[in-house]
């Protein structure tokens, strides 16, 4: 009798799971993420990027804007350069929005990155990046010699962390 009840419970659970899976598959198809336009290797494994890309970008944006740290591993521009896909088949202009939207629509998470940042890739027909002039007087850059002192770095990071604590 006991064995029968256990079997019954297991059967019910399996049934519920099957219905749930069928519903998920039937009503909301899993997102089909467009393949990266350029590049074969992301900066982190795909699973890690899916879970943590927002953390990486949040951390990076504060460092870049508030401390002026540039050229590190994560950057929204780098995401766009690889993941922007042609807006129409065969178009030259590439936008990253279809790539982001594929998962974000599924998860019903609205992002506002592209209210301010352009989603267009620079390489092919997007907003062309005008490179800054490379003729700054050499003497203006003497301070760089002292710029690598670890003590100063530490104090700046300390200041930054204290500052960040005040942020909402």
């Amino acid at each position: 009798m006991k064995r029968l009840i256990v079997l019954l419970i297991i059967a019910v659970l399996v049934g519920v799971a099957a219905v749930a899976t069928a519903r998920a598959a039937g009503d909301v198809p899993l997102p089909a993420t467009p393949k990266a336009f350029k590049g074969e290797q992301c900066v982190e494994p795909v699973g890690k990027m899916r879970r943590l890309h927002m953390e990486y970008l949040l951390h990076q944006r504060d460092e870049t804007l508030r401390q002026g740290i540039r050229g590190k591993k994560y950057s929204l521009r780098a995401c766009i350069e690889c993941h922007a896909v042609p807006e129409k088949p065969g178009a030259v202009e590439r936008s990253v929005e279809p790539f982001c939207a594929s998962c974000h629509k599924y998860a019903a998470v609205r992002i506002d990155c592209f209210e301010c940042h352009t989603a267009k890739a620079e390489g092919n027909g997007g907003q062309a990046l005008r490179l800054p002039p490379r003729h700054a007087p050499a003497k203006e850059n003497r301070w760089k010699a002292a710029n690598t002192q670890p003590a100063e770095l530490a104090s700046q990071i300390g200041f930054y962390l204290a500052d960040k604590g005040d942020m909402p």
Binding site: R61, D62, E63, L65, R66, Q67, G68, I69, R70, G71, K72, R77, I80, E115, C116, H117, T118, K120, E122, G126, Q127, L129, R130, L131, P132, P133, R134, H135, A136, P137, A138, K139, E140, N141, R142, W143, K144, A145, A146, N147, T148, Q149, P150, A151, E152, L153, Q156, I157, D163, D166, M167, P168
Partner: protein
């Protein structure tokens, strides 16, 4: 029992740090040898390095130069940063503008470009309720649009009326200069160019027309062009009575 060990460990760490610091300074000196200086300058700050408080960027503007230069600066800034408006003077953003002055007694006129003065003690930073308005280590005053709520206190606090509010949706932003509705913005001293070892767009344009019109450089470096000019000429800081320590200075006012 552990206290002496900790002290010893600390002393060891201090020595190790001192050695590292010495090594780093030595390396920097080597890279700054003849011929390598230019490479260093062209690359801007090394990747991963924060802006340094050892440098303080500033501008020295010679207002005796013709006003067409300042108009060209405004155009250059607009093109560089993409803040062209929609033809409504009341709401269009304006990062830099030409101000005309007239001596009422003599009728003599004078023009100057007016933009964020990148103050030493910026009132916009004092009043910001979210910490969005901030001063970077190298003296550049910026808005962190990620946390700007668009309250516009900073616009009221600024005695130079240097800031603008973005009233309308923005499209076609430059990749290096994100802008969006509902946030405040102002001159960034072309921070993207400075970080890459360049000079601001207005300075580049003015230099092309007259190399003496705007000097850009490090106010903390006594050998920079701007510091030498500051030691030679009498200059004005606008609203110096407020003791804000502006990084933008004017000659000939």
């Amino acid at each position: 029992m552990t206290a002496p060990m900790d002290r010893e460990r600390r002393r060891f760490m201090a020595r190790a740090l001192a050695l590292t610091a010495g090594g780093a300074a030595g390396l920097a000196a080597v890279t700054l040898g003849p011929g390598l200086v230019l490479v260093q300058a062209a690359q801007g700050r090394a990747p991963g390095q924060p802006a340094s408080a050892k440098v303080r960027w500033g501008l020295l503007i010679d207002t005796n130069k013709p006003a067409v230069i300042w108009d060209a600066c405004v155009d250059a800034c607009r093109d560089e940063n993409g803040w062209q408006g929609k033809g409504n003077a009341a709401t269009d953003p304006q990062w830099i503008r030409r101000v005309d002055l007239k001596d009422k007694r003599t009728g003599a006129t004078h023009s100057l470009p007016m933009m964020c003065q990148h103050c030493e003690s910026p009132p916009c930073v004092d009043v910001c309720p979210t910490g969005a308005s901030f001063r970077r280590a190298d003296g550049i005053v910026l808005v962190d649009r990620h946390i700007c709520i668009g309250c516009r206190y900073c616009m009221l606090a600024c005695p130079y009326a240097a800031r603008s509010f973005v009233h309308e949706d923005v499209t076609g932003q430059k990749p290096y200069m994100p802008r969006g509705k509902g946030t405040v913005e102002s001159c960034t001293l072309c921070v993207h160019r400075i970080d890459a070892g360049g000079i601001p767009a207005c300075v580049e344009t003015a230099n092309r027309m007259d190399p003496e019109a705007i000097l850009f450089g490090d106010l903390n470096d006594p050998d920079s062009d701007i510091s030498r000019a500051l030691s030679r000429h009498v200059v004005s800081r606008i609203r110096d009575d407020l003791r804000l320590g502006p990084g933008v200075m004017y000659r000939g006012l």
